[in-house]
Amino acid sequence: MASEPAEPVRPDEIKAIPVRRPGRWVAAALILYLSAALGKSVATNPRFEWGIIGHYFTSSRVLQGLVTTLELTALCMAIGIVIGILLAVMRLSPNPLVSATSWLYIWFFRGTPVLVQILFWGYISALYPRLSLGIPFGPQFVHFTANSVISPFVAGMLALGLNEGAYMAEIVRAGIISVEEGQTEAAQSLGMTRLQTMRRIVLPQAMRVIVPPTGNETISMLKTTSLVSVIAVTDLLYSVELIYAVNYRTIPLLIVASIWYLIVTTLLSFGQYYLERYFGRGTARELPQTPLQRLLRTLSIRHGV
């Protein structure tokens, strides 16, 4: 070995000239040019009829449609998540009959178009004019007429919710499987029951894997609810359809609906970000910064604080 270093000298800080990236500048210029051109055409083409869009954007019929769409999305996702968890747990059950039932459900609902399912529920009264609760082939306790219980809204909700359950089941199952076996064992060795282990230990940790695709499903559901217009549920899309059926302002009204869908999707994306942050706790040494925190930090670095 060489002799010991005499005096540790701190080397100079590195001041290197950054690599030049001309490609980035060309791309940026191109994108800027294209968006300016697009923006000008959208703003000045009279056929977009921005006045009409502004007029209908907050009209009460459109807002009511929006509320219906939001309700439908929330209810369908709620049904989907509950059924999804149930099916996922059933699917992992040691009882073969139970897991086969779950498999069959998923097979059926994923295997048929959701539009067909919506139509089926919409016409359920043709299939079952009277519904009753009771013992099969035995006495019946309560009777309803199908039309009184299953309004178009309920039909749409059931169709989309039950269908969503099949997709959520796979998402939840992937989440449950992602949790290490050791977690279950530790919980069991402490004397926790199967249900407690699932609810308190496994599912909360599965959430980290479940939340991102569920956010995705919710955003997708928001737009899929527009399919219920086929059974005359006055959601956002059907509301604007009803309006332009009378005044023929088709394009502007479709733009009204699109802008609302975009706004809600944006809000949902924010919500998803914070949910992911919440369920990611304990997995990272430090929570990731929120966009706001990141912005503040960037600004403060710029100002040399």
């Binding site: 530790a186 402490l190 407690q196 940790q205 304990g282």
Partner: protein, 251 residues
């Protein structure tokens, strides 16, 4: 406290335990050594009924593990009863298995609250003093990912102790740790063995720990206990050829 009579366990066609018999007295500390795959973990898991045994009998504190005997018939215990049996036995795993979404304190109070139905305030009080006992007073609000391996394992020990178990099982509690962290965990375990006279079965290859804390050492090989004796016996005059080989490999 623990009594095993010719315990057999198969996984498919592979027979892992081929007749293990053993008796552990209350307050006794027993160390188990043996080569990888010899069935040590499996035996511990059978005591906790995480695995069901195929033949033989296993008692903890005078009660049959996993079954109830009436006459000459064995009845399987219901889930709730199995849970009650397990809640009286603490287990510490090689890979810690702390609940990742809970802080150190939450890990410790979870089972007392859910299983023992302790009030939250009491569980927190007890949890804090247990974490103090394992030397982690300033880490109670940290998540497992924010703790070193040694600290995680000490939390895991506190979590098991929070159930006031009659028996503690340790499955290679230090073999996933960096060498400089092994000492702090063994220190806690020694405290349990010598100060609290906890009944313990410890699978470990830390012969220093065995020498200081164990009353008895068992050598497991190929699903059987092939030799047992005091730690001194193992250090000075192991009888079996297999034991000599194994000890010379790990010491």
């Amino acid at each position: 406290m623990v009594k095993a009579e010719s315990v057999h366990k198969r996984f498919g066609r592979l027979e892992v335990l081929k007749g293990v018999s053993l008796e552990v007295q209350p307050g006794e500390v027993v160390c188990m050594i043996g080569a990888s795959g010899s069935g040590k973990s499996t035996f511990l898991r059978c005591i906790n009924h995480l695995e069901r045994i195929d033949a033989g009998r296993l008692w903890v504190d005078g009660r049959l593990v996993g079954y109830r005997q009436s006459g000459d018939k064995l009845h399987e215990l219901r889930d709730a009863e199995v849970c009650r049996e397990r809640s009286e036995i603490g287990m510490v795993f090689q890979r810690f298995n702390l609940f990742g979404h809970m802080t150190a304190l939450e890990n410790v109070i979870e089972a007392p609250i859910r299983v023992r139905k302790l009030r939250k305030r009491d569980a927190v009080g007890q949890g804090k003093s247990l974490l103090e006992q394992v030397g982690l007073t300033d880490k109670i609000d940290n998540y497992p990912a924010q703790l070193s391996g040694g600290q995680q394992q000490r939390v895991a020990i506190a979590r098991a102790l929070a159930m006031k178990p009659k028996l503690m099982l340790f499955d290679e509690p230090t073999s996933a740790l960096d060498p400089e962290l092994v000492g702090e965990v063994l220190e806690v375990m020694k405290g349990l063995a010598l100060d609290f006279r906890t009944t313990m079965i410890v699978v470990t290859h830390e012969m220093g720990f065995a020498r200081e804390a164990a009353d008895r050492v068992l050598m497991m090989d190929d699903g059987r206990i092939i030799e047992e004796g005091t730690p001194e016996h193992f250090f000075e005059a192991p009888r079996e050829e297999r034991t000599k080989q194994f000890l010379s490999a790990i010491l």
